[in-house]
């Protein structure tokens, strides 16, 4: 097993990895940027090293700095988390070249699956169905328009190096192509350093379902069932479930087998996720493979009981997988809500700033994988994900009820969050009936009430106004907050007056 593991990441995923290492009794090394001085992941690690200014390119993406810390600290393995360098084949290669184990797949597998084009080419030989589209990156606007005409609108523009909902655009008709291409290229360049973009046919009302896989370096591979990731906003997942409400054992078996063929096509090892689109008739199409841990890995952990981060570390250390396919059993249902610092009532704009108050939920079936704490200032520079809240229960309906209960307990002060948005979403009949597709949230947001109140009665509103007024008046007269202060001042004043009187 490893002597020491460096986590080349920040926030809740760095905390998640540190927890797994602690349970394996492996010392951890955190890195942090200047914006992350005092961040939870740095506090929790056994060792912590500053690696430079806030912008990611100068810290969390600075390969040389991270390798330097690893060597100075004597770390013999690096866990990349997700995002940042997690799917950067060059980084994985540099790590291995430095004689350090990269906790993830081979650089070759990352490179292959990181290219939408190459990955589809490789997978197409293994009898895995795919959505019609271009395999090669498109060139000019004119080229794009010509190719699009062949496939037909509506269609999707996708960054070749993309993932996690970044670098994706829906194009309804030809007149949107120019603007869509520009923004997609710009986002792709900014997010992934590569502006290659390809075109794909748009599947009507699809579900987004992904299969978790685990493989060791000895040729053993298993799948751990699916995750339902259909609920997305602007192509970014907001809520995930395990199992998928539309799943049946036959479809799961078929998807699992397809995922195993993708693993074979990429000579894949470590944890990975094979994403599929599933249409209304339960036809499925290979989308891409994520060659890293997913944000939503915890719903699979809740249902299968398997600690994926621990498995990643064990497989990376060269151990054989101890779990065989027949050992994987799914029990109950789990849901994850991604708690973001953002304002759902203002177009989900991010809301960085100081967390003045934090009350996290717990109790039966609840797990809060957080990266923040009360008093922490959420930096402007990074992803606004504060925490992943996971609810497990014997049935999907119970898990929804439990998640609602937990959301009611969750209180974050000082910044805006999307907790109330989730609370409303979980009450939506279409969500409860699991009758949704990837466009559900964007359609629903149009109808959702965003008024000055969500149906508070007059008496309650009066009391709310009263309490706001009390809060306001106390904020603006600090003495009210320190009952002792006025007395002390009066005392001093009296003393001073006395002195003045006595002087002459």
């Amino acid at each position: 097993m490893f002597r020491k593991i460096l986590i080349a990441n920040r926030g809740e995923i760095a905390v998640r990895v540190i927890r797994a290492c602690r349970e394996l009794r492996i010392p951890t090394v955190a890195v942090y940027s200047e914006a992350d001085e005092g961040a939870l992941h740095a506090r929790m690690a056994d060792e912590a090293f500053g690696i430079g200014p806030a912008p990611s390119v100068e810290s969390y993406l600075a390969v040389e700095k991270i390798l330097d810390v690893a060597q100075r600290a004597g770390a013999d393995a690096i866990h990349p988390g997700y995002g940042f360098l997690a799917e950067n084949a060059g980084f994985a290669e540099a790590v291995e070249d430095a004689g350090i184990t990269f906790i993830g797949p081979s650089p070759a597998a990352i490179a292959l699956m990181g290219s939408k084009v190459e990955s589809r080419r490789a997978v197409s030989k293994y009898d895995v169905p795919m959505v019609p589209g271009t395999l090669d990156p498109i060139g000019s606007v004119a080229d794009a328009l010509e190719t699009a005409a062949g496939i037909g609108y509506p269609l999707m523009l996708k960054a070749s190096a993309g993932g996690g909902g970044k670098g994706l655009r829906f194009v309804a008709s030809a007149d949107q192509m120019e603007s869509a291409l520009r923004t997609t290229r710009a986002e792709a360049k900014a997010a992934f350093g590569d502006d290659a973009v390809y075109i794909e046919r748009f599947v009507e009302r699809p579900r987004h379902i992904e299969i978790q896989v685990l493989a060791d370096r000895h040729g053993n591979a298993i799948h751990l069932g699916e995750r339902e990731c259909t609920i997305q906003r602007r192509h970014q997942k907001v809520i995930e479930e395990c199992p998928s409400p539309i799943m049946n054992p036959e479809l799961r078996e078929k998807l699992g087998q397809a995922a195993m063929r993708v693993v074979e096509a990429a000579s894949y090892y470590n944890a990975g996720t094979v994403e599929f689109l599933v249409d209304q008739d339960l036809n499925f199409y290979f989308l891409e493979m994520n060659t890293r841990l997913q944000v939503e890995h915890a719903v699979t952990e809740a249902v299968t009981g398997i600690d994926l981060v621990r498995q990643q570390i064990e497989v990376a250390a060269g151990n054989e997988l101890k779990i065989r396919q027949q050992d994987v059993t799914m029990r109950g249902a789990a849901i994850e809500c991604r708690i973001y610092a953002e304002d759902p009532d203002n177009n989900f704009f991010p809301s960085p700033g100081r967390i003045s108050m934090l009350r996290t939920p717990s109790g039966p079936g609840i797990r809060d994988d957080s990266g923040v704490y009360a008093g922490w200032t959420v930096p402007l520079e990074y992803d606004p994900l504060l925490s992943k809240l996971i609810a497990w229960a014997p049935t999907r309906a119970d898990a929804i009820a439990r998640m609602s209960r937990a959301l009611d307990e969750y209180q974050i002060g000082g910044i805006k969050d999307n907790i109330a948005f989730f609370r409303q979403l979980l009450d939506h009949p279409a969500f409860i009936a699991a009758d949704f597709d990837t466009g559900f949230i964007d359609r629903w947001l149009g109808e959702r009430s965003k008024g000055v109140t969500n149906g508070m009665g007059e008496r309650d509103r009066d009391m709310a106004l009263l309490i706001a007024t009390v809060f306001h008046s106390r904020q603006n007269s600090p003495e009210a907050n320190h009952p002792a202060a006025p007395t002390a001042n009066a005392w001093k004043l009296a003393g001073r007056n006395e002195q003045l009187l006595r002087k002459p």
Partner: protein
Amino acid sequence: MKYTALVGTEKIEIDLHSAALPTVRARVGDREYELELREIEPGLFWFCVDGRSIEATVLPNGEGYTVRLGTKYVRLELLDRRSQLRRLGAGDTDKLAEIRASMPGKVVKLLVVEGDEVKAGQGLLVIEAMKMQNEMRTPRAGTVQKVAVPEGMTVKAGDLLAVVN
């Protein structure tokens, strides 16, 4: 102390008799209230009324507050005499569109220069925060009278970005 609460377009007069916790008293509109209010921590209050156990959180929100009672919320602006006067003094800006930052972030791209003619809905500049890019658009057609920020500048929510007339 007297305040005016603005809830949407509705104005409610509040006469705060006592803000000394735990017993707070006020007239809200024409109704008198007395609550035994406990401050669990700053911005988080608990009280019982008619047996109901209620937690209230008060969150500063731009120029006003959002108050949550359980799962219900109300947004308000609170005007004391001074801010009322200021508000009354503000000029008519209907003929101008002031485009303000609705989030903190960094100006990563300017799409127009002063003097450009723009259509309603056209993008003026791009702001990035926490890996999200957002095109700030003009709500009305006209001429770009002012671009108030250079590329690369970090802005706070509410900062003026551009003016279109």
